[in-house]
């Protein structure tokens, strides 16, 4: 089987960093902040690499839409095992709709049999790009995946839903979005980091792909949420229950 898998990866503020709202109220401070691959994209990439290792896919292509520095994210992806990378360069902060429209152009160029992507980016938390892309392509979608089995040109996908696990069967090509428990991504080994430097990385200009990138949302402002204050430490369970009854009045 010669199916190519396309994996979009986003460069985001590292998940261990507590973001700070920028003083100008336009967004979140990213200057000098550690950036990493969106954790859900890592999981989606790991799944794609495993599909190739099991013989279901012939190659894994990663694509990132972002600034020049997103190259680092793509090199990390290739060190994990992706075969080649595409950077769609833009300094604008694009919305999921514009990202999906750009990805559609890349899909039409690369012709993958599967797009494996994260269910949400941990910066804008929108949880939308995969579904929008599937709609634009007219492809089926399997979101929030916790297990993927490929057979006979189809993917049987277990999905994390509100009450438990749902299983759907989608024809390929399809878009699958990864949830946390799909797999545990591997670490890139030092030799693989070296090898990744020689893998092909193509750069395209987002503006040149004939896609309308105009934002539909105007950011009016970004503010700090109200902070919770630390309360009191109690010594005994009886004291706790007493306070919950008489002070907090929740029991």
């Amino acid at each position: 089987m010669t199916m190519k898998v396309l994996v979009p990866v986003k460069r985001v503020v590292d998940y261990n960093i507590k973001p700070r709202v920028a003083a100008d109220g336009r967004g979140v401070e990213t200057q000098g902040v550690k950036m990493s691959m969106n954790p859900f994209d890592e999981i989606a990439l790991e799944e794609a690499i495993r599909l190739r290792e099991k013989g279901h896919a012939s190659s894994v292509v990663v694509v990132s839409i972002g600034p020049q520095a997103a190259q680092d994210t793509l090199r990390t992806a290739m060190a994990m095992g992706a075969d080649q990378a595409i950077l769609v360069r833009t300094d604008a902060a694009l919305e999921p709709l514009a990202v999906a429209n750009l990805l559609k152009v890349i899909v039409e160029r690369e012709n993958p049999g599967l797009v494996s992507m994260g269910k949400q980016a941990i910066d804008d938390d929108m949880n939308a790009t995969g579904q929008i892309l599937a709609a634009k392509l007219g492809w089926p979608q399997a979101t929030f995946a916790s297990q993927v089995k490929i057979h006979d040109g189809k993917a049987e996908v277990s999905r994390e839903v509100d009450g438990g696990i749902e299983v759907v069967n989608v024809s390929l090509p399809a878009v699958i979005t990864a949830d946390l428990r799909l797999n545990e991504p591997r670490y890139a080994s030092l030799p693989n980091i070296m090898k990744a430097r020689k893998k092909p990385l193509e750069t395209l200009d987002a503006e040149s792909l004939g896609v309308d990138l105009t934002p539909r949302l105007k950011v009016v402002n970004v503010s700090e949420p109200p902070e919770r204050q630390a309360g009191v430490i109690v010594e005994t369970v009886d004291e706790l229950v007493h306070k919950l009854k008489t002070e907090a009045k929740v029991l």
Binding site: P19, P96, R228
Partner: protein, 303 residues
């Protein structure tokens, strides 16, 4: 202005979060609701509803035909709304793709017809955004809006069929973990366990008796779910369920950024943790530093 609200039922009754979505959408004008599956008679009784659209041939709510149907109705509406749920997060962004509009996820405040507040960065920042799209597609957080009444209305029901013939996606099965406990999103009390609970047996033995006494829902941290102590639908946090109970009891969980994102709106937080420096104590109203294996049995007795 007219809004269409996608509502869901749970064991026959309309979910409380769906009733909250109706009240949120009432800000925009008249509200029609659309229901996939049974129990349209319960939808007809909801307050503030002009008309019930009842789709009878799509019980499993596959995103592809559901979004395709919604797209044929969308031009009659200025806003398409649903409460945040696994189904709405699956379907509404796909609908937005079909309509070529930018959807809004997890709205917690409606400023006016086109301006909305939503959390970003795991709730560490709140973004106020103004949409220029002709049709606004949004999911709203149930706990941020008071629900409309479940009874009192008498809306007409119109039956609709989803377009047939879509054969690229099939429902295979669903495995629901059955529980008589309240849903996490609407529970008045939640007790959640983390990695510190150590195994699934302890989760049952230590958390369930307390949950029984308090009629509480049981939640879990990601680490506890990953380790198999609890099923995935119990995960609370940035990428699990966002909750806002009167009382949240956090047991043996450290209070990672991603977990706190899901519990910040709780009225009272209690933390039980052996590590006095655990970040959960920074947001807890009441804390006990100690071994949960001693504290939980004592708590059960004291209740």
């Amino acid at each position: 202005m007219t809004a269409l609200v996608l509502i869901e039922t749970e064991q026959g009754t309309v979910r409380q979060a769906s009733r909250s979505a109706i009240s949120a959408a009432s800000r925009f004008g008249d509200v029609d609701v659309i229901l996939f599956g049974d129990n349209a008679e319960n939808a007809a009784k909801l307050a503030n509803v002009r008309k019930v659209l009842h789709v009878t041939n799509l019980p499993h709510l596959l995103a592809e035909p559901a979004a395709a149907l919604l797209a044929t109705l969308a031009e009659n509406y200025t806003h398409i709304v649903s409460a945040v749920s696994a189904n709405s997060k699956n379907i509404l962004p796909r609908l937005a793709g079909l309509l070529d509009v930018q959807p809004l996820t997890d709205v917690i405040e409606i400023k006016n017809d086109d301006t909305f507040v939503r959390p970003i960065y795991a709730g560490n920042a709140l973004a106020t955004v103004q949409s220029s799209d002709r049709i606004k597609v949004l999911t709203v957080r149930g706990s941020s809006f008071d629900p409309v009444a479940a009874e009192g209305g008498n809306a007409p029901v119109e039956t609709l069929g989803a377009p047939g013939g879509y054969d690229k996606s099939h429902f295979v099965k669903v495995e629901f973990s059955h529980s008589d406990r309240p849903e996490l999103e609407v529970a008045r009390v939640i007790i959640s366990g983390g990695k510190g609970v150590k195994d699934a047996g302890n989760f049952q033995k230590l958390l369930e008796p307390i949950a029984d006494k308090l009629n509480a829902a049981i939640g879990a941290s990601r680490a506890a779910v990953d380790a198999g102590f609890a099923p995935n639908e119990m995960q609370v946090g940035q990428t699990g369920k966002v909750v806002a109970p009167e009382l949240y009891i956090a047991v043996g969980l450290s209070g990672a950024l991603q977990h706190l994102a899901g519990i910040k709106d709780s009225r009272v937080i209690v933390a039980i943790n052996i590590d006095p420096d655990a970040p959960i104590f920074k947001v807890a109203d009441y804390g006990i530093v100690g071994d949960l294996f001693d504290i939980l049995p004592a708590l059960e007795k004291a209740l």
